[in-house]
């Protein structure tokens, strides 16, 4: 249990949110929340339904623009950016409700994740032969690496719509990984999975974190999983932050127990 602390000391802040306020009409989804994410850590966000967890990720990747507060990423303050620009900054994510491209194969879905790494213009693409094909092959090789890593070789050419839920989640992770992000946002990556699938997914997340040093922010309801894989945990309730620290600290915090753990478990 000293390991997470060591990790933190060595690393710098990759993301810092300061006093974020977000409301929809009269509904306050996030009130005055601040927290940071260290480079290379696995940071979990937990909290009951409607606590504002997904909204937090939407703020980080630019779908929602907070009314108040500052966002610092990679040492720079961010001023209102579009989600596609944030993708170029190195943030990738998966969704709570799977958001794959239904009409495309597994391979093509993951290839779309390479979008920010491909630069040949339209004329080269129209010609295909030469630079565009070369670029396609290089990126295809990278994607094949991800397919091997996620152990989905057999379904490479299958249209994603035909896959069972658990595999779709895995493909969505693959698409996010293909972008080689600095920071990976995962919104309930294990929801609706059986124990075996959850174990696989945990293994993938930890492997990604270990092998590529990717910083991970994940939302998860399964407390066992969170305690196992997270370095630090933020606890939200009704849009407010009620706890922040290592899993051990959070687990023993009376406010957290009352608001969340006590109620739903």
């Amino acid at each position: 249990m000293t390991e997470p602390l060591q990790k933190m000391e060595a690393a710098s802040k990759l993301l810092e949110l300061k006093n974020i306020d977000l409301s929809f009409g009269g509904v306050k989804a996030i009130s005055n929340i601040s927290f940071d994410v260290m480079e290379g850590e696995v940071r979990a966000i937990i909290g009951p339904n409607g606590a504002g967890k997904s909204s937090m990720l939407n703020v980080i990747n630019g779908f929602y623009h907070p009314q108040q507060g500052e966002i610092w990423f990679d040492g720079k303050q961010r001023h209102s950016m579009k989600p596609y620009q944030i993708a170029y900054q190195g943030i990738a994510r998966t969704f709570q409700n799977i958001a794959l491209f239904k009409g495309m194969s597994v391979l093509d879905n993951i290839m779309t994740g390479r979008f920010t790494h491909m630069h040949k213009n339209m004329l080269w693409q129209a010609l295909w032969k030469g630079p565009a094909e070369q670029e396609e092959i290089v990126n295809r090789e990278f994607v094949e690496g991800i397919i091997d890593f996620l152990e989905i070789q057999a379904i490479r050419k299958t249209p994603v719509g035909r896959l069972p839920y658990g595999l779709q989640k895995r493909v969505e992770l693959g698409r996010a990984l293909a972008a080689q992000p600095k920071m990976l946002l995962l919104d309930e990556p294990m929801a609706g999975m059986n124990v075996e699938e959850k174990e696989d997914m945990c293994r993938f997340i930890l492997d990604v974190n270990d092998t590529f040093g990717t910083t991970i922010v994940l939302i998860e309801h399964d407390m066992g999983v969170v305690m196992d894989i997270a370095d630090r945990v933020v606890v939200l309730d009704y849009g407010r932050k009620i706890g922040d620290g290592t899993p051990d600290v959070v687990r023993n915090d009376q406010t957290v127990i009352d608001a969340y753990l006590g109620v739903s478990h």
Partner: protein, 358 residues
Amino acid sequence: MFYRESGDFKKTYKLDSQTFPIKFDRWRYYFVMLVAFIVVPMFLTDYSANAVMIPFLVWAIAALGLNILVGYCGQLSLGTGGFMAVGAYSTYKLMTSFPGMDMISVIMLSGLVTAVVGAFFGLPSLRIKGFYLAVVTLAAQFFLVWLLNKVPWFYNYSASGQISAPQRELFGIVVTGPHATPVAAYLFCLIFAVGLAWIARNLTRGRMGRSWMAIRDMDIAAEIIGVNPLMAKLSAFAVSSFFIGVSGALLFSVYLGAAEVTEAFSINVSFAVLFMVIIGGLGSIFGSFIGAAFMVLMPVLLKNILVGGLGWPTDLAAHFELIIVGGLILVFLIVEPHGLAQMARVLKEKLRLWPFPH
């Protein structure tokens, strides 16, 4: 027996992304090219060129263009007729203003003009989707036809309001005007159809095509992987309109020879091309060709059978044709939204692994 994937494994990614991954398909492709460029011209008559082959090629190019927009990028358009008119009138203005310009450049430039116009009318697609976008493109259709009809500069102040294509040569062979032979006109269109199909194939299998399909399937997810929705949609409108503009240019200069905008490029054209795309197969290049072939051949066949064979009156046969097209659209939308191309694919899948289906 020979149509099989068994034993035909791909060793490199390059081979795997080939257009025709199975040897048999590749040979069939060479065979089709051979037939199209050499055998067909040997047997081409005035009738078969004008009733079947040339319109087939011209409409196939339009269907390819619309398929890029609707089938690949998921943006519905009813402005095809108007965009074809832009291509046709650009060609007319270029041919009459620069008599020395070669026809390949004329047609390509007309495509570019149409691409710009198309991208402009695609701008609202950033904000509006589906039905409402269809209404905007419908407005584009009526506006463009109105404009080209209203401003006499576009038809060089001709008294009839018509535009007609002067005679032009390419490598010393007459390709436009009344003295063009059917073979020359056919080959001229064929070059464009084959070239543009190749470009469509390249664009749709690469980065740009994936960005279009990503927008079509789930625009939110497309954004988080870095696709700028405006760029993706506008590029789809531009490329699609380029194809449609070329088609309009060929329809006017090579096929019709003379045109009047309210007749040749009416809303009916927009619907006809949309039907080709639906019947042939949304999101399929091959489908665009079958769709065009179907819509060109069916009236010819029906006319021969009903009027020629059974002695029906012409107008009754024409109505019957409308009923058949309408019925087929319904059937395809309900039963097989991916059209004839998908039916062919399913059949192929079955043959592909035969005799070992598992």
